[in-house]
């Protein structure tokens, strides 16, 4: 145990000895006031299954997206290179024309 642990444990042990003697019962009228406030508020609705699974569905969709990119990556790169070649050809044609 290092010096800090010793000091902290000593302080905490001392602090724990101080009992909280404050009254823990609800003040007069508190329950009635809160109940009255609550009566004017909507109690909300239970979480529907769609909401429950929304985050999970989002994660699954993201995983599918990543998988789709990974599977088609080679095709995508090849396609880009071909496009570049075609584009270079067009420029060449233009130069030939001039």
């Amino acid at each position: 145990m290092n010096q800090f642990d010793h000091q902290w444990r000593k302080l905490i042990a001392l602090a724990r000895q101080a009992e909280d003697s404050r009254d823990a019962t609800a003040p007069y009228g508190f329950g009635t006031r809160v109940a009255a406030c609550a009566g004017t508020m909507p109690f909300g609705r239970a979480a529907v299954p769609v909401e429950k699974f929304a985050l999970r569905a989002l994660l699954v969709a993201a995983a599918f997206g990543v998988a789709a990119i990974a599977v088609n990556f080679t095709t995508f790169v090849t396609s880009t290179q071909t496009d570049a070649y075609v584009a270079a050809d067009v420029v060449g044609d233009l130069l030939d024309l001039s």
Binding site: F4, R16, A18, A24, F43
Partner: protein, 195 residues
């Protein structure tokens, strides 16, 4: 106290039917549980009764989400804990911790803890408690909560996890991070004392 003799199921059924008397009974029954949590994690300058009221109103507005998977007092205590953390986060700035902010008794207790020169007396307990709360005020709300529950209230990691909804690894990480910060605070205080 939130004991087993209270008929939560029956009371909640009546509350859902907008029975105001049942709502009042529920609030009064759970008040000791909620106020203990509020007092343990009370942010500065926030009245405990106002915070308790916020917690109960949240409880009512979310009542439809209660599925009965955990005992109702546990569910309410989780709302209480998260509400207190939200309040602590909203305060953002924590005042710098200085010797000058301590009362005479607190400074004496801290000096005694740091120097280890004499045994503490039971009379030091209240000052120590105040001092611990001032030190905990320097931590991030989540870290503060973990240390409060772990060290002051002597809850287990599993109990903290159940109360907060954080997994056990996260609780351990937060406890470790909080102790590191406290250690730094202690070192700073010792350095200031020497200088």
């Amino acid at each position: 106290m939130a004991d087993d003799s209270f008929d939560f199921a029956g009371c909640l059924e009546r509350v859902r039917q907008r029975d105001q008397s049942a709502s009042r009974q529920l609030v009064e029954h759970l008040y000791p549980l909620v106020i203990r949590i509020v007092r343990s994690h009370l942010p500065r300058r926030v009245a405990e009764e106002d915070l308790a009221q916020d917690i109960f109103l949240k409880m009512f507005t979310r009542l439809a989400q209660y599925q009965g998977n955990v005992p109702f007092p546990h569910w309410v205590s989780r709302i209480a804990v998260t509400t207190c953390i939200d309040q602590l986060r909203a305060q953002k700035r924590r005042p710098e911790f200085r010797w000058a902010d301590l009362s005479e008794n607190e400074a004496e207790v801290l000096d005694n803890v740091l120097t280890d020169e004499r045994d503490t007396t039971p009379g030091d307990a209240l000052a120590a408690r105040e001092l611990v709360h001032k030190l905990l005020d320097q931590l991030k709300p989540d870290d503060r909560l973990v240390i409060q529950l772990l060290d002051l209230e002597q809850k287990t990691i599993a109990e903290i996890s159940a109360r907060t909804g954080w997994n056990q690894t996260l609780v351990k990480v937060r406890a470790f991070r909080a102790r590191r910060k406290l250690q730094k605070l202690f070192q700073d205080l010792q350095n200031k004392e020497k200088s």
